[in-house]
């Protein structure tokens, strides 16, 4: 049973922080889609601190829990030929170990 008292990584980023999504394609299960990797965005909110799905997917305990952030990226940064408004954004949930300061 995972509770809020189980070990967790400390929260490193505050709302508004500029972050870059790390790149990589580990052989195991992960939740960071390729199309956002390497791109820079801004922390929109901390969603919570959750068991690490990369560990859970393999029958492990998911500990330490990882902070999960909603990160806002500009569509025109993600897609060079984006045809919508330059104000359009994408919000995506990313675990802290996939982020680095930008």
């Amino acid at each position: 049973m995972i509770t809020m008292t189980t070990p967790a990584e400390s929260v490193l980023y505050t709302d508004g922080a500029a972050v870059r999504v790390r790149t990589g394609a580990p052989a195991h299960h992960f939740r960071t889609p390729a199309y956002i990797q390497g791109h820079t965005g801004v922390v929109d909110a901390l969603c919570g601190v959750y068991p690490n799905p990369e560990s859970l997917a393999h029958g492990d305990d998911g500990l330490p829990r990882q902070p999960l952030y909603r990160v806002r990226l500009r569509q025109t940064d993600l897609w060079p030929d984006y045809s919508g408004s330059p104000a359009d954004t994408l919000l995506v949930d990313v675990y802290q170990h996939w982020l680095e300061p930008a």
Binding site: C47, Y50, D88, L90, L91, V92
Partner: protein
């Protein structure tokens, strides 16, 4: 081997696909190892079948007529839904309600698989799970919406929400114009599944 406890609503009068066969085999193994019972599978299927977009529509209509409920729903959906008698089990992913306004239109997708606010909408439509929707919703959201008949003015920002992790997103569509005199029940009928995914607006009366 024991008889498969596979519980579904259709009859297998056609050869089963490889994926379906694998699912039956895994389910039988889980039962054999005592990790899952037929009753648990049945109850989970019942729970999912009992959830329909009508639940989400009730919630949206309530938010349209009650500003303080809407504020609570946007801040903490679980407790707001409990007020309406909608219990969200503890183990289900956290539900986040995002509001469409005159300035922002939200669109929900899961590019990795088919994450969806099932506790309020039931099972996702097939198109939501299609590779076409999952890839195009993030790269050309306005084009996707146009195909659903939704013409969005350029000065409304589009926020696409890709639910890759522990959050599930439900869109609170804008209340249509000309609905000032309508009751909560009448409003409920204007709230479609697609408007709560964000590919369309709510219906107009």
């Amino acid at each position: 081997m024991t008889t498969a406890i596979h519980v579904e609503d259709h009859v297998h009068d056609q050869p089963m696909s490889e994926v379906a066969l694998r699912s039956v085999a895994i389910e039988a193994l889980l039962a054999e190892k005592g990790l899952l019972t037929a009753d648990e599978v049945r109850r989970q299927v019942d729970l999912m079948d009992g959830r329909t977009p009508a639940d989400g529509a009730r919630v949206v209509a309530r938010a349209w007529v009650d500003d303080s409920f809407k504020a609570r729903l946007l801040a903490d959906s679980r407790s707001a839904l409990a007020e309406m008698g909608i219990a969200i089990p503890e183990e289900t992913p956290h539900l986040v309600v995002v509001e469409n306004t005159d300035d922002v239109h939200n669109l929900v997708v899961c590019t990795l698989c088919s994450c969806y606010p099932r506790m309020l909408l039931g099972r996702p439509p097939d198109w939501y799970k299609s590779l076409a929707y999952r890839s195009r919703a993030v790269s050309d959201p306005r084009g996707v919406m146009a195909e659903f008949g939704t013409a969005l003015p350029a000065d409304i920002r589009v926020d696409v929400l890709d639910s890759t992790a522990d959050m599930r997103y439900l869109v609170l569509p804008r209340r249509p114009e000309g609905t000032e005199g309508m009751s909560e029940d009448e409003l409920t009928r204007l709230v479609t599944r697609d408007s709560m995914i964000g590919v369309t607006d709510a219906l107009t009366p």
